[in-house]
């Protein structure tokens, strides 16, 4: 049933025409997703999973259809990551930009390409795309599937290892609705690192509705960072991960800028001994609203999951953390940890935290903890007694709090880049 509230999004679906002719499987997938969207209700704060995040302002936006826009390398500079840009895919409003992208010679078994170049090929996309991002259950996944024009395809076949990170930049301009889409497939014992940057400049409010699917075969190792730096964006992201036996997945979600963001990370630990680490950082100010919503499903024995999310909220900003761990019957030997720490820098900032455990099995180790508070006055005084002024002391302590998440990033270039970004954000103390 189409409700009053999702009219603006429904209009986007109704107005959509693919940029070029598409194979039948894709047209059918789109139609199925469009039908699902029409049938599903956009969630309101009456839905348990959305009680802290009100989408009304997003639904009230007047959004233009995604369209190509000219972007230069200079425009991209603030978002490039020195040392992590040798392999780069750039999409502007969902359209691949070949001149800004770089795909060097890759090891045997590795394929990195825009999805659009593979729609009709023999890569087997019909059986792989939209396999785990369920557009029958989630309206925003349905919306993305109906509207995406292109996206990043990253495949590391069996035993293929690529150490250099793949940087995918999804650039948004103007007041558009964009649907970035990523598909990452890591074969048996493959190793690969992906950085997704969702970027844009201040300007007209836009809606970026992203879906990423990540599949890890047994023994695969995937490191994945998601950087959100688009001050004009309402961003909804679905990150769907499925892990097979003994695979290892690490996710770092870093929200540096957005008007509104909702990051959904769903991990299925579907093979024995799989391990995932989900870390996140929120830097909120003004009236920003950043919601991290995680579900880790321990389906098989002896899997481990580790969540560390931190938020720093200033001004009237608000952060939300919901982390759910499900331990299925038979998932003995599960080791699940959740930690959420929130730093409130102003009286009007708020942080909601909801760690949740659903355990249907004995012999499991689950721990969760949450803290919310202000800067430690003793630490502020300590730093002032060493000559830092109040602002410098607070900035240094805030940096330290936030950096605890960043320093876990094993991709050196990404970590160093973020440290620099945070130095700048917190008025670099060293002056050079």
């Amino acid at each position: 049933m189409t409700t009053q509230t999702h009219n603006s999004l429904q209009l986007a679906i109704d107005a959509f025409t693919p940029p070029s002719a598409e194979p039948a499987w894709l047209s059918e997938l789109r139609q199925d997703a469009a039908d699902s969207f029409t049938a599903l209700d956009v969630p309101t704060i009456r839905h348990e999973d959305w009680r802290y995040t009100n989408l009304k302002p997003l639904l009230a936006l007047k959004l233009a259809a995604a369209a190509r826009a000219p972007i230069t390398l200079d425009d991209l500079k603030p978002w490039l990551i020195d040392g992590a840009d040798d392999i780069r895919l750039v999409f502007v409003n969902g359209f691949f930009d070949g001149t800004l992208s770089r795909i060097p010679a890759l090891p045997e078994g590795v394929l990195i390409a825009p999805l659009s170049q593979l729609f009709g090929g023999d890569e087997g996309l019909p059986g792989k795309l939209a396999r785990f991002a369920d557009h029958h259950a989630q309206p925003f996944t349905a919306l993305n599937t109906a509207l995406f024009t292109d996206g990043a395809y990253i495949r590391a076949g069996r035993d293929a290892v690529l150490d250099a990170p793949v940087h995918v930049l999804y650039v948004s301009t103007g007041g558009q609705i964009n649907a970035p889409r990523t598909l990452l497939l890591a074969g048996e014992n493959a190793g690969i690192a992906l950085v997704e940057s969702f970027v844009g400049l201040a300007g007209e409010s836009r809606f970026v509705n992203a879906v990423s699917e990540v599949m890890l075969a047994s023994g695969a190792n995937v490191r994945h960072a998601k950087l959100l730096r688009d001050p004009a964006a309402s961003h909804i992201g679905w990150n769907e991960v499925r892990q097979d036996r003994d695979s290892a997945y690490t996710h770092h979600s870093i929200s540096l800028d957005a008007q509104l963001a909702r990051h959904n990370v769903n991990v299925m630990l579907a093979g024995e001994g799989a391990a995932c680490t989900l870390n996140g950082l929120v830097l909120g100010n003004d009236t920003q609203h950043i919601d991290n919503h995680l579900v880790v499903d321990h389906m098989r024995p002896r899997c481990t999951s580790n969540q560390l999310y931190r938020s720093v909220v200033d001004g009237k900003s608000r952060s939300v953390f919901s982390g759910k761990v499900i331990v299925r019957p038979g998932a003995a030997g599960t080791d699940a940890r959740q930690q959420n720490n929130n730093l409130l820098l102003s009286d009007d900032a708020r942080a909601e935290t909801r760690p949740q455990l659903e355990i249907y099995c004995d012999e499991v180790k689950c721990a969760h903890g949450a803290t919310s508070g202000q800067l430690d006055p003793d630490a502020v005084f300590f730093l002032r007694s060493r000559g830092l002024d109040t602002r410098q002391a607070r900035n240094l302590l805030t940096y330290a709090f936030a950096n605890d998440v960043v320093e876990h990033i094993k991709m050196d270039a990404v970590r160093q880049h973020l440290e620099e970004v945070m130095h700048e954000r917190f008025h670099g103390l060293l002056g050079e």
């Binding site: 006055p377 005084f381 300590f382 730093l383 002032r384 007694s385 000559g387 302590l397 605890d404 002056g431």
Partner: protein
């Protein structure tokens, strides 16, 4: 006669409306080492916090004159930049900030405020290496987060390292000896002694006489119930060690 470096006049200090210090008078000349001894709860730490300018400690009357000017209204950072240093009894842990980064930030904040050139990376590295060697602090400790996971002795040595790097004029050490084994105590004392100079004064707050075996004070003051009960030379410390504090309580 030269003016004292630090002069405390009839100082009354309160926390949360409760007066802890009831009129302290103390005068420290350049280059002198003074020790303040006293039992727990006598107000020793309160005095050090008041000198450093902790916002929770309110000077209700009296004055603190440093280099000829009242500092009771000055911010803690302004006192630090003017050369006052407090070594904390309980050093604060700061996860996520490396010791090295912190020290350089502090040094440069002070230099900048004084209109001096900031230390470059290379200059700072040379400086810190020299000072760390003095305090027997290995490079690993410099790269770790400030005081995080440090042993009690490492924390105290780290305080003296900060003292050595920041080179204050008036150093106040709040129970730097507490919780130290004899080797750590000797290291700390050696560090402090090497920093003694005609232009630098020390105020050592301690519960026990043993620190004063290693750092010879010029003057010893005994604090009791927020007042100085007795002042004397270094022999007063030995007398306290022998007799305890009870005889002074009776005298007051």
């Amino acid at each position: 006669m030269t003016k004292p470096l630090l002069e405390i006049r009839d100082l009354h200090v309160a926390i949360d409306g409760t007066e802890i210090l009831h009129g302290i008078d103390l005068s420290i000349n350049a280059g002198e080492v003074h020790a303040i001894m006293g039992t727990n709860g006598s107000g020793k730490s309160t005095l050090t916090k008041a000198i450093a300018g902790h916002p929770d400690y309110t000077v209700t009357s009296g004055d603190i004159i440093y280099k000829g000017k009242s500092i009771v209204a000055a911010e803690p950072e302004d006192r630090a930049r003017a050369g006052i240093f407090l070594a904390f009894q309980y050093p604060v842990e700061i996860p996520g900030v490396s010791n090295m980064y912190f020290l350089r930030a502090a040094l440069n904040a002070q230099r900048k405020a004084r209109g001096e050139a900031e230390a470059s990376g290379a200059d700072f590295l040379a400086l810190i290496k020299e000072k760390a060697k003095l305090m027997d602090i290995d490079a690993g400790l410099l790269n770790r987060s400030v005081n995080e996971g440090f042993s009690g002795g490492e924390k105290k040595r780290n305080e003296i390292l900060q003292l050595a790097v920041l080179e204050p004029t008036m150093a106040v050490l709040d129970e730097t000896d507490s919780g130290l084994d004899i080797d750590a105590l000797k290291t700390v004392a050696t560090g402090v002694n090497s920093l003694r100079s005609p232009g630098r004064s020390f105020l050592l707050v301690t519960h026990y006489q043993r620190l004063l075996n290693h750092i010879q004070p010029d003057f010893v003051h005994v604090l009791l119930d927020g007042r100085i009960a007795k002042s004397g030379g270094k022999e007063l410390a030995l007398e306290l060690e022998e007799k305890g504090y009870a005889w002074l309580e009776q005298a007051v």
